[in-house]
């Protein structure tokens, strides 16, 4: 292609078309970079529940013998139970397929509604399709308040 003759034929300046193309391509590149960059940098931020140091608190006075108090911590359903005066905390997600188990005070067991797994009051599996225990959750007790952090 002959640039000089091309420039004479054309009524606009020789660099106009090339400049337009460059700007259009550059603009699309910047727009795409933004469309990818914005969600990705947002994804890398700390999620709210983590930056707030999400903590769960249970006043021990509310926890009667043989009962459970449920709460949420970092997206997990947590059961705090009291058996024989002892306090324990478990992640309620069944280790089988992740359904949330239920506490049955009468039999002192956790029962899973999904496929019938049964766990004892120390989280050990006693029946059903699992042989893994409920995950026990560490906690601190201070001034008669149980805290999970």
């Amino acid at each position: 292609m002959n640039n000089a003759s091309h420039a004479q034929d054309s009524s606009s300046k020789p660099s106009d078309r090339r400049r337009f193309c460059k700007m259009a391509i550059g603009g699309m590149a910047v727009a795409s970079a933004g469309m990818v960059g914005y969600p990705v940098t947002t994804f890398l931020k700390l999620p709210k529940s983590m930056s707030q140091q999400g903590s769960m608190e249970v006043p021990l006075a509310d926890l009667a013998e043989g009962t459970a108090i449920w709460g949420e911590h970092l997206g997990r359903q947590i059961a705090v139970i009291k058996v024989d005066g002892q306090v324990r905390a478990f992640n309620g997600a069944c280790p089988h397929l992740g359904c949330v188990v239920q506490w049955e005070g009468a039999t002192r067991t956790f029962k899973c509604p999904c496929h019938g797994a049964v766990f004892s009051d120390n989280g050990k599996p006693v029946a059903g399709p699992v042989n893994a225990p409920l995950e026990s959750v560490p906690f601190q007790i201070q001034d008669d308040v149980l805290r999970i952090t």
């Binding site: 969600p39 990705v40 947002t42 994804f43 890398l44 931020k45 999620p47 709210k48 529940s49 983590m50 970092l74 997206g75 997990r76 992640n91 997600a93 280790p95 089988h96 397929l97 992740g98 893994a132 995950e135």
Partner: protein, 219 residues
């Protein structure tokens, strides 16, 4: 802009980049008659790169443990900012990638491009398709939902039809008699390392072969 240009100029002076770029990208001519169906292979590669990228992002939060896998995916979808988007892109990308590989193959078959000297392009392509399908299959178990559980149960049952060794293949793939935490660990390792690495190796061979024979010229 000026800074970038002088950085490029400095590198170009030392390593002669411009002829390399011209030969492989800006002045690399392809047959004029190719048409849009010739894009499917390259698009499959692009989607694979997106899968690698979004997959690495998901790995920041995903936990390959039966007690926590579902929680961690739910956490990604509902608590991580833009997590729903990254997770959706990875799921949709998996399906799109399989579709693109199949469309790419259909073109090769339709135009009979697989004929000599390109037979091994086809063979390596079949390996690439299998690896892609296995990637999607292993990934499907990772969120540890009821659907993933049954998907993996039914899928790992298939090799049971092989005479004599079938049962062994099934228990091998499941790491035991049924789908369990062991299966999850195995599928996870396959999904994030073994299969992607296999794909990269076979893609490298696939591309090297295509470079040697050149792009096929439609009549």
């Amino acid at each position: 802009m000026r800074v970038l240009r002088s950085i490029y100029q400095g590198l170009d002076d030392r390593y002669q980049l411009t002829p390399l770029i011209e030969k492989n990208v800006t002045r690399k001519w392809v047959p004029r008659t190719l048409g849009w169906s010739a894009c499917f292979g390259g698009l499959a590669l692009l989607v694979f790169l997106i899968q690698v990228f979004t997959g690495i992002l998901l790995l920041i939060y995903y936990k390959p443990d039966p007690g926590r896998a579902w929680d961690s995916v739910t956490f990604i979808k509902s608590n991580v900012p833009m997590g729903w988007l990254i997770q959706r892109v990875h799921v949709v990308g998996a399906n799109v990638m399989i579709a693109l590989v199949l469309m790419h193959m259909a073109r090769i078959a339709y135009f009979k491009i697989y004929r000599s000297p390109r037979e091994l392009h086809w063979v390596s392509g079949v390996v690439l398709l299998s690896l892609t399908v296995f990637l999607a299959f292993t990934g499907y178990l990772l969120p540890w939902t009821n659907l993933s559980y049954w998907g993996a149960s039914v899928g790992t049952e298939i090799p049971g039809a092989i005479p004599f060794v079938g049962e062994h293949v099934v228990t091998w793939a499941r790491r035991g008699p049924g789908i369990s935490g062991e299966t999850l660990g195995f599928f996870f390792a396959m999904h994030i390392w073994v299969l992607p690495a296999g794909l990269v190796i076979f893609m490298a061979m696939h591309f090297a072969m295509i470079r040697r024979t050149g792009i096929s010229r439609p009549l």
